[in-house]
């Protein structure tokens, strides 16, 4: 790898930080304010994307800002792994920015300046996490990410939102404390925390107890944001946030920062070889396998669409962790590829949930009977993403899951293969009802949903609350009326929301149909080759 001094990694981080100031400064003029967001997201994505050709050619872009602590440089480095995450986060921010405008204006939300400023700040921190060159710098951005996303979680200011915000801060700062301690132990044991593909060499010579302790702390710390059970419960609660936040941050940027942290930990701090020697892969894989099954089961019973998606996210994130923990080159590739694959699919689904909320104020799946007629494009995109999530070919999820299945099999861990397959079936079980309700049921004439409605003891509650249907870009509808029918030409919502939905769904399909042409698989191959020396 050739190191190239460049300001681009720093630029990619700073561009949205500068936007924060500009957004705050133009708080009285919403159009100017939103154009700063759009401008920053274009500039950010452009900066990150401009590094792709170089990185694929084997270069690593480095911005070195000098020493930060004894043994720790404050430097930002766009290597293949960092670029993978940076590209996903910044690319989807561009899409989410448009969607945010449609969503926030559609609902006429308050405190929009704070919202857009915090959003831009979160992205700065997320890309900082991506390009951090060592554990301490990564921790710096990891904490900033927690602080910047807090206002977004507590945005509504209702008791529920504030409670979710408190929980979010407590969990993420708790995780941060673990990450910091683990990082400092690594620093103390080896004199460095700089990431190097295949692991920090000094760590193999360190006391195994210390090394295991550091690994446990770091994995638990990143595991909070990666929503590994039992550290996941902040995520479903955080769904009280506006939907664009759930879509980008709690399906992509924040939770993937946790997963990405684990990837850094496994690939660039400890390295697969030392992981095997210390026997740390198997426990981590066990936790991940448990999480992905348990979360899928819980998702089955969630009637609130966003909560169901949240548990699905918990489950899918553990696919990635499982692939990383199994440590075979193919499973690593599957795990890393699942980062963008899941991002595109899940963001589509959240966008759909948000569009439904804005247009009809419906949040519960049991009330969505026949909504496919009212929002045909939206629900079609949802169906495509759901299919991908279950691993059906031609959508992104298939490719990454294929690698994961082969990887776990070839590593001789068939039990994890079975877990993945079972979870795939559960995926269908919890997403199909949504698609079924949308297209094959009609308003007020829904079938019984024994899994959702049944009390754990076996009795049926049967009562479903009705909601009012006001708001959303001028559409007003009376209760208990049919949804009405809209042609799939965009009349169902504004293009500000519909465009991002279709773009994200299209991205998921492109990743599934021509994974080699899409840049992500090439980056993933580069990462795996760099760490294990094996070409996939």
């Amino acid at each position: 790898m050739i190191h190239v001094a460049s300001v681009r990694p720093l630029g990619a981080v700073l561009v949205s930080a500068i936007a924060v100031a500009l957004i705050l400064a133009s708080r009285g003029r919403p159009d100017v304010r939103e154009s700063w967001t759009l401008l920053a997201s274009v500039a950010k994505f452009g900066t990150v994307a401009s590094m792709v050709p170089g990185v694929l050619a084997g270069q690593v872009y480095v911005t070195d800002l000098g020493p930060f602590l004894p043994g720790v440089e404050f430097s930002l480095r766009a290597d293949p792994l960092g670029l993978l995450f940076g590209l996903v986060a910044s690319g989807l921010w561009l899409v989410t920015s448009l969607y945010s405008i449609g969503y926030m204006r559609g609902l006429d939300e308050g405190s929009q300046t704070r919202y857009f400023a915090a959003f831009a700040g979160s992205l700065s921190a997320a890309v900082g996490v991506a390009f951090a060159s060592n554990l301490v710098v990564m921790f710096v951005f990891y904490e900033l990410l927690a602080v910047a996303t807090y206002p977004l979680v507590a945005h509504d200011g209702t008791g529920e939102a504030r409670a979710a915000g408190r929980k979010y801060l407590a969990y993420t700062f708790g995780g941060g404390v673990a990450v910091l301690t683990g990082s400092l132990i690594v620093l103390w044991a080896t004199g460095t925390t700089a990431f190097s593909p295949g692991g920090i060499s000094g760590l193999a010579a360190a006391d195994p107890v210390v090394a295991r302790g550091a690994f446990a702390l770091l994995a638990a710390g990143f595991g909070v944001k990666a929503a590994l059970m039992p550290l996941h419960s902040w995520l479903p609660d955080a769904m009280v946030a506006p939907t664009p936040v759930s879509a980008l941050l709690h399906a992509v940027a924040v939770v993937k920062a946790g997963v990405f942290g684990i990837a850094r930990l496994v690939l660039d701090v400890f390295g697969p070889d030392l992981m095997t020697d210390l026997g740390m892969g198997l426990p981590l894989a066990g936790v991940a396998a448990f999480t992905l099954l348990a979360a899928s089961l819980i998702a089955l019973r969630q009637d609130n669409l966003k909560r169901r998606l949240a548990y699905s996210t918990v489950s899918q994130l553990s696919y990635i962790v499982l692939g990383l923990a199994v440590l075979s080159p193919v499973s690593l590739a599957g795990a890393l590829l699942h980062i963008p694959a899941h991002a595109f699919m899940k963001i589509t689904m959240f966008f759909c949930a948000g569009a439904i909320h804005v247009e009809t104020h419906t949040d519960n799946i049991s009330e969505m009977g026949g909504i496919g007629a009212r929002m045909p494009l939206t629900m079609a995109a949802f169906a495509v993403a759901a299919a991908g999530m279950a691993g059906i070919p031609l959508v992104a999820g298939f490719v990454s899951k294929y690698f994961l299945l082969i990887g776990t099999l070839t590593a001789g861990r068939a039990v994890f293969t079975v877990a993945l397959l079972v979870s795939g079936v559960l995926n269908i079980a919890y997403f199909w009802p949504v698609v079924y309700a949308a297209f094959f049921e009609s308003r007020g004439k829904a079938d019984h949903k024994p899994v959702v409605e049944g009390e754990p003891g076996g009795r049926f509650s049967g009562s479903v609350a009705t909601t009012s249907f006001e708001g959303g870009h001028g559409y007003r509808r009376a209760q208990r009326e049919d949804w009405g029918r809209r042609a799939p030409t965009g009349a169902e919502s504004t293009w500000l929301m519909l465009g991002p939905i279709l773009a994200a769904a299209a991205g998921a399909i492109v990743l599934g149909v021509v994974p080699d042409a899409a840049v992500f698989l090439r980056i993933v191959r580069l990462i795996v080759a760099g760490v294990t020396g094996v070409a996939i």
Partner: protein, 504 residues
């Protein structure tokens, strides 16, 4: 250059006298004289700090009487840091004080006297001389706390006077024991003589215990902290800002000086129980201080308990006793002064602007006073230790030092203190930004007496009078708290020789 150390002490004291003399000719001159003195002081301290950090300690024998018999002033990197910190904070708070008051000439004279006393503690190389300056600054602080025109201020000052004098007496008693054991008062000489007398002899151990416990009172280590919340909450806002930033900080500096320069690390190694006292003080302060802070309803009391907790970190660093931890202590002393002083001044500004003084008053503050809430938020998160602010860097050095020393209990308590700090900070931040304002909102000062004490008669006691100077001082604190984080590594390198000398 060589005359700078005594100048540094004499300048504020002369300034105090000048304030009174000029005041005889023309009233309302206190502020300009104080500012002039402070600017000169910052310049002198800056020059001295530059020299001390670059070329090693500057020594000065007062009156030409050579040490160990005469009084010696020794300015090493740490002393110079403290002197510069004292001077800069004093200047910053003056910008705030112009409008916020109390604005009498005696106030500014006492203010400068406190600066002189604190500078004296920082630069002296003689334990008895240190006691004298400790008393000067103590008396000045009592007077400043009492300068608020409320009964509460007077009561707080009285309580502080009693407890503070008790602490100073213990310190003096400790000095007496050390003198009996060695026959000298010069710090450098004492450290050699104490080693000769034997670190485990009862006399030496008693001297250590008395001096350290005396300083624990001044630093406000739990359970000797009770004076502090009353004093900080009872004092006028200007004074709370100044003393919360400096008084405990300089006392903690004195603790480091006594433990490492006078008794040395070898003493700690020879007496594990001494070490245990430091650890216990640290852990108790960190945990209890935070818990008490969470349960306060008045902002200033909450911040005061937070100080108890933060100084627990410093005492922890003293217990760890290695280069990394003490570098962290130096950074955190400076950082905490900026953050806590800034927070107190912000509290005053918020009270001036909106009348809000309690945790409940802060509900929906962001809507009424967005800038103030923003600054408060930044300083508060800096205090939690969110990177890259200075609160993070100091804590990080201390934790790293604790890990290096294998002090896992301390390391985990200090790391865990982040969450404890978060508990009381998040409570406020949430109220400021995500609650709806309660009651009549702007202009409702709770009760007139409280606002009047902040803004004194000149502004008519009406909220809405936070001056530009007040806002500038507060904003500067927030900026400095963040910027210092970036400068901390460079400073750590500069001070490394000093710290090495301290622990060798």
């Amino acid at each position: 250059m060589s005359d700078l150390p005594p100048m540094l002490v004499a300048l504020p004291i002369l300034g105090a006298v000048a304030t009174m003399l000029v005041g005889l000719v023309r009233s309302e001159t206190g502020w300009p004289v104080a500012v002039l003195t402070s600017v000169l002081q910052v310049g002198a301290a800056g020059v001295l700090a530059r020299g001390a950090l670059r070329h090693g300690p500057v020594r000065y024998a007062v009156g030409g009487f050579a040490a160990p018999y005469g009084i010696e002033l020794v300015v090493d990197g740490l002393s110079a840091t403290m002197a510069l910190l004292v001077a800069s904070v004093a200047l910053g708070v003056l910008a705030y004080a112009r409008k916020a008051g109390p604005r009498s000439n005696p106030f500014y004279a006492t203010y400068l006297l406190l600066v002189g006393g604190l500078t004296g503690i920082s630069v002296t190389g003689d334990v008895f001389n240190m006691y004298v300056f400790l008393e000067i600054s103590g008396l000045a602080t009592y007077a400043l706390v009492a300068s608020g025109d409320r009964g509460e201020s007077a009561l707080a000052a009285l309580k502080y006077l009693l407890v503070g004098t008790f602490g100073a007496s213990l310190f003096l008693l400790g000095i007496g024991y050390a003198y009996v054991a060695t026959g000298t008062l010069n710090m450098a000489d004492l450290s050699a003589q104490l080693a000769e007398a034997g670190h485990t002899t009862p006399l030496v151990v008693a001297a250590f215990s008395l001096m350290v416990v005396g300083l624990f009172v001044k630093v406000a280590v739990f359970p000797l902290h009770a004076w502090q919340p009353t004093a900080y909450a009872g004092a006028p806002d200007t004074v709370s800002g100044l003393i919360s930033a400096l008084v405990s900080t300089v006392a903690a500096y004195a603790l480091i000086r006594i433990v490492f320069t006078v008794f040395t690390v070898d003493f700690l190694h020879a007496n594990p129980s001494a070490w245990r006292v430091l650890v216990a003080g640290s852990v108790a302060s960190i945990v209890t201080g935070s818990l008490l802070a969470v349960s306060q309803s008045e902002i200033k009391r909450m911040l005061a308990y937070s100080s108890v907790s933060q100084f627990g970190l410093i005492v922890g660093a003293v217990a760890v006793a290695n280069v990394t931890a003490l570098t962290g202590a130096a950074i955190h002393l400076v950082g905490h002064a900026v953050m806590k002083g800034g927070l107190f001044l912000t509290t005053g500004t918020v009270a001036g602007e909106t009348g809000a003084r309690t945790v409940d008053d802060y509900g929906g503050l962001a809507k009424r006073f967005p800038a103030g809430s923003g600054v408060f938020g930044i300083l508060a998160f800096a205090l939690v230790g969110v990177p890259p602010a200075v609160g993070f860097v100091g804590k990080l050095y201390i934790v790293l030092g604790a890990i290096e020393a294998g002090a896992w209990l301390l390391a985990s308590v200090i790391v865990g203190s982040t969450l404890l700090t978060l508990a009381y900070v998040a409570r406020l931040v949430e109220r400021m930004f995500f609650w709806e304002p309660e009651g009549e909102g702007r202009g409702d000062g709770g009760d007139g007496a409280k606002s009047a004490s902040v803004l004194d008669e000149a502004t008519g006691g009406e909220p809405g009078g936070a001056s530009r100077g007040m806002k500038a001082a507060v904003l500067a604190a927030a900026v400095v708290a963040v910027v210092l984080g970036a400068a901390a590594f460079g400073y750590g390198q500069l001070i490394e020789p000093t710290i090495l000398r301290l622990v060798s």
